[in-house]
């Protein structure tokens, strides 16, 4: 493929946030996620409606328009299971919009864990169950098969690539992190170390983050970013290179960068400008892999993610609270599954959402530079408190279950 191609991938996700679940609820009220007060900041429904209005509805309309106008426009999405569950109940029209996008045949859905979890690092069995559950959900919802895998938070290492290769995925996504790439460019397709067939697509974090993080930052020397300027940067990056991987949260459009920053107009104009020349195109993740040969092998024995300047897992698993929470959570896997109680198992899985431990991150908290916008809690300590209360309740339910079962046997 001689054309210069952009592989745009947007991540769609909403977690079930834990309400202010108190020690007085524990062992009494088993509802961890549904905050009864609609106007409470932990109310998942209210947050979903807010983001739907600010981001999902306008961005889907824009994507639909671009797909209708430009036959060459394509993109990939990953949509978490918890997002789809919420959209079904609270905004079915948003889910219909996504189905319509997928039905054009030019929007690919990627595979991931149903519960947006970091289970790969704790339980391979549970991880595979969640990947399977997600594939089934995507089949049922969109009628398509997933072929390319992206792990939660783009957390990637060689072992994950080897797993995905054996599992039959044709491609996998990772951060294009300089210490890994060294002199190499992220704008090519690679092969992960120790794999047979799978190919690796690496995020061009500079051009991705120009949109995701810097677009509206008035302190940025390049502000304001125009479609014209960005087009030049992208064209430069793709000179003699094959594919530009722009990976970011879907909510970049409208939620992280608000409508009044001009992000929607910018994006529409950029797509139009990019496609105004015949040697340029967009490609889905599968096409990017199909049309490009791997130019070399990349090894990442250490886990790399797409977060923060460290690009590691410390935002989720860096402090003692996070590690303790995860240890307790995965410790009870066997007991949880043994109950065969689907509600209990679903609650346990919702507690695996990486968002919970992210809210417990203290990395920048003491400097006052908080991950505040992304956290519904007053502090990381509050996030830990509510999580642990919910987890204790889950344990209580497990023991109530086994007490019930032994009674049944005796009875």
């Amino acid at each position: 493929m001689s054309k210069q191609s952009i592989n745009l991938y947007l991540h769609v996700h909403q977690p079930f946030r834990i309400r202010e679940y108190s020690v007085f609820d524990t062992a009494i009220n088993h509802n961890y996620f549904d905050e009864p007060d609609y106007f409470n900041r932990h109310n998942n429904e209210r947050i979903f409606h807010k983001v739907a209005d600010k981001s999902y509805r306008p961005m889907n309309a824009l994507l639909k328009h671009l797909l209708n106008t430009h036959p060459e426009f394509k993109l990939s999405l990953s949509i978490s299971g918890t997002f789809i569950e919420q959209a079904r109940v609270w905004a079915p029209d948003v889910l219909e919009d996504f189905k319509e996008l997928v039905s054009t045949g030019r929007v690919e859905i990627l595979s991931e864990t149903y519960y947006h979890s970091l289970s790969f690092f704790y339980s391979r069995d549970e991880f595979e169950r969640q990947v399977e559950a997600h594939r089934q959900l995507i089949r049922d919802t969109f009628g398509v098969e997933t072929k390319v895998f992206r792990n939660t938070e783009l957390a990637y290492n060689d072992a994950l690539a080897q797993w995905a290769d054996e599992y039959g995925f044709s491609g996998i996504l990772a951060e294009g992190w300089d210490p890994v790439l060294e002199w190499r460019s992220p704008n090519f397709v690679y092969q992960p170390e120790g794999t047979q067939n799978i190919k690796l697509l690496m995020k061009n974090y500079k051009l991705s983050d120009d949109l995701a993080f810097r677009f509206s930052n008035r302190g940025w020397p390049e502000w304001p970013l125009t479609a014209d300027k960005y087009e030049n940067w992208v064209a430069d990056a793709l000179k003699d290179q094959s594919v530009l991987n722009l990976f970011m949260d879907y909510e970049t459009f409208g939620e992280h960068q608000w409508e009044d920053t001009g992000i929607f107009e910018f994006f529409g104009e950029f797509v139009q400008r990019w496609l105004s020349q015949p040697n340029r195109t967009f490609s889905t993740a599968s096409e990017s892999i199909q049309y490009n040969e791997a130019v070399g092998t990349i090894s990442m024995p250490q886990t790399v993610t797409w977060a923060d300047s460290e690009r590691d897992l410390t935002a989720w698993l860096g402090n003692d609270m996070q590690q303790e929470a995860m240890r307790y959570l995965y410790e009870i896997e066997g007991d949880v599954l043994a109950t065969n109680d689907i509600d209990l198992i679903a609650d346990w899985r919702k507690l695996q959402q990486s968002d919970h431990t992210y809210y417990m991150c203290t990395k920048w908290f003491t400097d006052g530079d908080v991950h505040a916008y992304f956290s519904p809690y007053q502090s990381p300590y509050d996030a830990f408190l509510y999580f642990m209360n919910a987890l204790r309740d889950l344990k209580w339910r497990i023991s109530a279950h086994s007490a019930q079962q032994s009674e049944d046997i005796r009875g």
Partner: protein, 408 residues
């Protein structure tokens, strides 16, 4: 500088704050005459000139400390005892008379007065010396009254002082809001200057002595978590709510103990309350503590609670942080504005308080995170920064209401 007390002749945090502020100002090159309303040696103070306005002994000995609010001490009792002031008003009146005598011999650039106690003297000094008046608010009568109406005479003096001041310094946003909302002072006249802690004032040779609170140590060995409050036992401090929250917490986690170090008029009520909640066996009243007992009270604690209904700043929280405790404090405590790694709750929200106590008691990871992270935060504000802020305010223009025209 018009003060009321300096260590060691102090009844609380006002004297400590004045001491460190003056020292830092002197370091910045200010020369200070510090007036106190009593006669007592301050031999360790060489960075400023301490002047005695009266021949009385340190005033807190007469129950007229910086926190006085009850009517008898303010109005006075009609008994004349030589050497004993009949009321705080008598002390204040003598204080002002002394300031009047200074005009003969002294020249100053600025008057810096602290709280309502020296507000009148400050107003008089502004008049006589014809120089700007800065009033530093460490607590208002609304704080001292702990949600009750307070003493109308003190309110009146406080209001006059705030009206007459050219600049006002408030120790927290909470205090500034009270000044602006309750006294209708224009917000731009008030600057927030948080207090700090001077860690060099702690004795470096201090080593925690486990024998001081042997009983609590034995409970800790048995897996108990110790919560403490080091405070005057008075309505402002919200201790009845603390007791209720503690009692609720024990229903979810048995191995908890509460140490109340301090004394005050609420002590008997709190003892009765502990019995009523059925937690008397885990509530320890240590009485007023000083020196080693005071520091050991922090050291024995896993959690330090500041339960104040209204706390303009709350220096003890920084002292507690220095001794490696996890902090829980009310959102009504000013010190919460300078710390991040803490739990906060509204003073009446005892469910939330209980939740936080239980969470820390049940998780070492949470306890250690809170303790370690707050250690990196509690010294972020320094007295040198505060002195610089004060100097800026000294040279700031007086507040003149903008002319808005005449509407006929």
């Amino acid at each position: 500088m018009l003060g009321w007390e300096l260590p060691p002749h102090n009844s609380g945090g006002l004297g400590v704050a004045c001491y460190h502020l003056s020292k830092a100002l002197a370091n910045e090159g200010a020369s200070i005459d510090f007036v106190v309303p009593y006669a007592a040696p301050h031999d360790d103070i060489d960075f400023m000139n301490v002047r005695s306005a009266t021949h009385f002994s340190p005033i807190h000995k007469f129950g007229m400390g910086a926190y006085t609010t009850d009517t008898t001490t303010v109005k006075g009792i009609p008994v004349e005892i030589p050497g004993v002031p009949s009321s705080i008003r008598e002390v204040q009146s003598k204080y002002t008379q002394y300031i009047e005598t200074l005009v003969e011999t002294e020249q100053y650039d600025i008057i810096h007065a602290h709280d309502w106690l020296t507000a009148e003297a400050g107003i008089r000094a502004k008049e006589l010396f014809d120089i700007p008046l800065v009033i530093h608010v460490h607590a208002t009568e609304f704080d001292r009254a702990g949600g009750e109406s307070g003493n109308p005479l003190i309110h009146e003096i406080e209001y006059q002082g705030l009206m007459m001041a050219d600049r006002i310094l408030a120790v927290s946003d909470i205090t500034k809001n009270i000044i602006v909302d309750k006294y209708q002072i224009p917000a731009e006249k008030v600057e927030v200057v948080h207090n700090a802690i001077d860690t060099t004032s702690f004795d470096d040779t201090y080593v925690y002595d486990k024998r001081t609170y042997t009983y609590l140590e034995s409970l800790k060995n048995d897996g108990y978590t110790v919560i403490s409050a080091v405070t005057r036992l008075t309505v402002q401090k919200g201790l009845t709510h603390l007791m209720e929250g503690f009692a609720k917490a024990t229903t979810k986690h048995e191995k908890l103990a509460l140490l109340l170090a301090g004394d005050g008029e609420q002590r008997d009520e709190l003892i009765r309350l502990a019995a009523k909640y059925g937690v008397s066996d885990r509530v320890i009243f240590a009485g007023f503590v000083r020196g080693k007992q005071w520091r050991d009270a922090y050291s024995v604690s896993d959690i330090f609670a500041m339960s104040s209904v209204s706390e303009p700043f709350g220096l003890t929280a920084l002292e507690a942080a220095h001794h490696n405790t996890a902090l829980i404090m009310t959102k009504q405590s000013g010190v919460s504005e300078v710390l991040n790694s803490i739990f906060t709750y509204d003073f009446w929200d005892t469910d939330r308080l209980a939740n936080q106590i239980v969470a820390i008691a049940k998780s070492d990871a949470l306890k250690n995170s809170l303790q370690e992270n707050v250690l990196r935060e509690y010294t972020r504000v320094s007295w040198a920064d505060i002195a610089k802020k004060c100097l800026n305010n000294y040279s700031a223009p007086s507040h003149e209401p903008a002319f808005e025209g005449v509407y006929a």
